[in-house]
């Protein structure tokens, strides 16, 4: 490999340089062109940097949230709160927790013991009016907020005062206007005096006045002065943060989740890999069953619901899954596909005759050609966005608006492309058909169409595929389909796993359509298809 370069002596190099000066020294402009290009782009980027004040924006960027939401794509959190009461703790799960209603996961272990509690007693004469408030305490800790807002009507005041978990006691009392009128009673009963939570490699020990977190070989201890302050008893490592003295401490445990230690509760955010409850939500009778159990039930079990077979029940439970909304997502995806399909098809059908009018060689009418071409330019240049907004106002949000927007925009695009293809045809075939005395219509049919039809269909197929992608975007401005659903899911910032699910569906659809359209185009016009 190196032989040729070695044999070229400096003298030879000089000889060649003298012999072909233009090869070795091109014009100055040509040699400097790449450099000029790079410098121009660099200057432009500096300008844009200041134009969009990118420095500030990037400085203010919230990467923590980004990491969390990205993790949400492929995982879910269970979010129990552990309330710190006077002498005991209460484990509470929010109402729509990923693990279902009132789960008892094995990663939370509680220890029970006898404790003395202060519980309010309903005063007899007040019972009628304050029944709503007193019944709060009958509720299990799982529903404090609901109990607070809308007291359950079927619970009898008085008897409910001795609810066995006593959750929300402080919440209920502080919020009631008749605080002073309530009488407290000391009761001795069983309660959870401590809880241990295992999250990945971390162990969290929660006692009413002391929270201990053991992870990565370190032990963090926090003394809790209830409703007053949180005091770290050890130095905080980089993965634990207390923004103000006595305030809450946020402890990050990597992918396993994080723990927020506050002065009256410990918030656990335990993250698990996977999409939770993908098939059945917590209200389904199939919830929490393994795949084998579900299959067994579907094929041979007794009917769970006497109205329908287990298979039908399972299917309807999947479709109406409250968290993943499979049914709705599929309908919206179908809308998007239909928007692209119908919009593209109708645009091709309308553009087909119009392009014959626009082609100079087919319709020898200059004014007509010009008018047609400007019409195509108009519908094409008024953006698909504008058409989408316009038709959304006309038809209301939904696929009709999307179909109309794609139809109008692509009538222009196809008209332009088709008429260009028509103007490039070989005239000999037309002459041949004309020479045997065919009528003008037959001349087009046998002299022109065979040449251009494959090109037309190929163009339409290409746009069919790319319109499927466009339809997703214009959906977000109200033109229906999965775009709007995606946008709503992102807006709430809760459902990034749903976004991921829809993205996967869209990717599959686009991939399939891409391949189908490529396959058909190759069959139609051979390898030269783009």
């Amino acid at each position: 490999m190196t032989a040729p370069t070695q044999s070229l002596s400096p003298a030879d190099v000089a000889l060649y340089q003298n012999r072909y000066p233009d090869v070795f020294k091109g014009s100055r402009l040509k040699r400097l062109a790449p450099l000029i290009g790079v410098v121009t782009v660099a200057i432009y980027f500096v300008y844009v940097w200041f134009f969009f004040s990118m420095g500030q924006v990037i400085e203010r960027a919230n990467w923590d949230i980004a990491g969390n939401y990205l993790a949400d794509w492929i995982s879910y959190e269970s979010r129990p709160d552990i309330q710190l009461e006077d002498g005991y703790v209460v484990v509470e799960f929010p109402r729509f927790d990923a693990l279902g209603n009132n789960p008892d996961p094995d990663w939370i272990v509680t220890e029970t013991g006898m404790v003395e509690k202060q519980v309010p007693v309903a005063v007899e004469e007040k019972a009628g009016e304050t029944g709503g408030q007193t019944s709060n305490f009958g509720f299990l800790g799982a529903l404090p907020s609901q109990a607070e807002d809308q007291p359950a009507e079927d619970e009898k005041p008085g008897s409910s005062a001795f609810g066995f978990m006593g959750a929300g006691g402080s919440v209920g009392i502080t919020d009631t206007p008749e605080v002073t009128e309530q009488v407290f009673e000391t009761v001795r009963e069983q309660a959870e005096i401590s809880a241990e939570v295992v999250m990945g490699s971390a162990r969290i020990l929660i006692e009413p006045s002391l929270v201990t977190i053991i992870d990565r070989g370190q032990t963090l201890e926090f003394a809790i002065d209830r409703d007053e302050s949180v005091t770290p008893l050890t130095d905080l490592p980089s993965w634990a943060e207390q923004k103000q003295e006595g305030g809450k401490v946020v402890v990050g445990l990597g992918f396993a989740g994080r723990v927020e230690v506050e002065d009256d509760e410990v918030k656990i955010r335990h993250r698990f890999l996977g999409w939770e409850n993908f098939l059945f939500d917590a209200n389904s009778p199939f919830f929490g069953k393994s795949m084998g159990e579900v299959i067994g039930l579907v094929f041979s079990g007794d009917r769970i619901d006497p109205e329908m077979s287990n298979a039908a029940l399972a299917w309807s439970n999947i479709v109406s899954n409250a968290e993943w909304q499979h049914g709705d997502v599929w309908v919206k995806l179908l809308q998007t596909i239909i928007m692209a399909f119908i919009g593209t098809l109708f645009a091709s059908i309308l553009a087909f005759p119009l392009s014959f009018l626009a082609a100079r060689n087919i319709t020898p009418n200059r004014a007509g050609n010009w008018l047609m071409k400007r019409f195509f330019d108009f519908t094409r240049s008024v953006d698909m966005l504008i058409w989408a907004l316009f038709f959304t106002r006309a038809f209301g949000p939904g696929p009709l608006a999307g179909i109309s927007a794609i139809f109008v925009t692509d009538t222009g695009t196809f008209g332009k492309l088709y008429s260009e293809a028509l103007e490039n045809i070989d005239d000999k075939q037309r002459e041949g058909v004309k020479s045997v005395g065919a009528s003008p219509l037959l001349v087009q049919r046998f002299g022109v169409l065979p040449q251009v039809l494959p090109v037309f269909v190929s163009q339409s197929l290409y746009f069919w595929e790319s319109n499927t992608r466009s339809a997703t975007i214009i959906g977000a401005v109200g033109a229906g389909g999965i775009g709007l659903k995606l946008w709503e899911a992102m807006r709430t910032n809760q459902d990034w796993e749903n976004v991921a699910y829809m993205v996967v569906l869209i990717l599959i659809v686009v991939f399939v359509f891409d391949n189908v359209s490529n396959f058909l185009r190759h069959k139609l016009i051979g390898k030269q298809a783009r």
């Binding site: 924006v57 809308q335 966005l385 907004l389």
Partner: protein, 324 residues
């Protein structure tokens, strides 16, 4: 026509057999055509029914009101859109958002100002240009790794191609939505969304151009022991650069439209202004923005077409076209 389809007299038995066979095939073909037309008809009918059922307003109920939009959009006097376009004070100004044209002025120096919508249009154009340049540069890097004549390792080619496909197919709106969370409202999410899509789209077109390149210069360079980068830079790039730039310009046209749309869903710029003014029913502002957008898109298209024609001649127009 009938005498062509009836069997010509005086055919040999062999000829008649061929004729019968041909007829059978033609009949079959006609049947298939009819069947597929029927299927298409059913699909179209079903789709239209479905679209109409799931739409907020029904097609035939809403059709009479289709043009109401234009009536709603009639400004109070014909000069109003011009005032909105150039941020001149309106005689109808009552402090509401509808007539406060002179609020959004961007003062450059002294009394000289850039009207609000021109500024927003420049914002959108900048988003499109930056994302095209970014997409062009990265697409340029990836395309040589995806081209079968420059990269012999199958697994690398396969990986790069799938990667480009992934970037191309990933919904732009999700990228924009995700980065809106990180950066809050502004142009950067829009730039990232459009640029990521552009990398995939241009990368794919670029590697197809590279695969069609003449390999003789490359052979010559290989013979004198050039390394891979030298082969790409001196053997392939000079051939494909005009085509690359032409595709890049085409992409720029598409990206102007795309960044308008992304702007409307939260990326700022003229798209957002348009969405707001349409949904609030500000007729003069809407007309001004549509006019500005329309002329800008036509100007960009014409300029890019002129440049492409200069670069690669009419070749750029045979299959030219594209969608957002």
């Amino acid at each position: 026509m009938s005498d062509i389809t009836s069997p010509p007299p005086g055919l040999s038995p062999k000829g008649q057999a061929v004729e019968a066979h041909w007829r059978q095939l033609a009949g079959q073909r006609r049947l298939y055509t009819l069947l597929s037309l029927g299927l298409l008809f059913v699909a179209v009918w079903g789709s239209l029914w479905f679209a109409n059922e799931t739409n907020a307003g029904k097609f035939f109920d809403r059709l009479p009101y289709l043009l109401d939009f234009f009536i709603d959009m009639a400004p109070r006097d014909p000069i109003e859109p011009l005032r909105a376009l150039f941020d001149l004070p309106s005689p109808y100004d009552d402090g509401s958002l509808q007539y406060n044209y002179d609020v959004g002025r961007v003062y450059l120096f002294g009394d000289f100002y850039l009207p609000e919508y021109f500024y927003k249009m420049i914002e959108t154009l900048n988003v499109a240009l930056v994302s095209t340049i970014v997409g062009f540069s990265l697409g340029f890097v990836f395309c040589f790794l995806a081209a079968s004549n420059m990269t012999t390792r199958r697994w690398l080619r396969f990986f790069v191609r799938r990667f480009l496909e992934f970037l191309r197919a990933f919904p732009e709106i999700v990228i924009a939505g995700f980065f809106l969370v990180v950066f809050s409202l502004g142009a950067i999410p829009a730039i990232l969304a459009v640029a990521i899509h552009t990398i995939g789209a241009l990368g794919k077109m670029f590697f197809e151009v590279v695969e069609n390149a003449d390999m003789k210069p490359d052979e010559g360079l290989r013979a004198v022991g050039a390394n891979w980068i030298e082969r790409v830079w001196f053997g392939i790039v000079p051939q494909v650069m005009p085509n690359f730039v032409s595709y890049g310009l085409l992409r720029f046209e598409i990206n102007v439209r795309a960044s308008t749309i992304i702007g409307a869903v939260g990326g700022g710029g003229i798209g957002e202004a348009l969405r707001l003014s349409i949904s609030r029913g500000h007729e003069a502002k809407t007309i001004a923005i549509i006019f500005l957008l329309f002329t800008t898109i036509i100007a960009v298209d014409q300029f890019s077409a002129w440049l492409r024609r200069k670069l690669v001649g009419d070749q750029a127009f045979v299959t030219a076209g594209g969608a957002a």
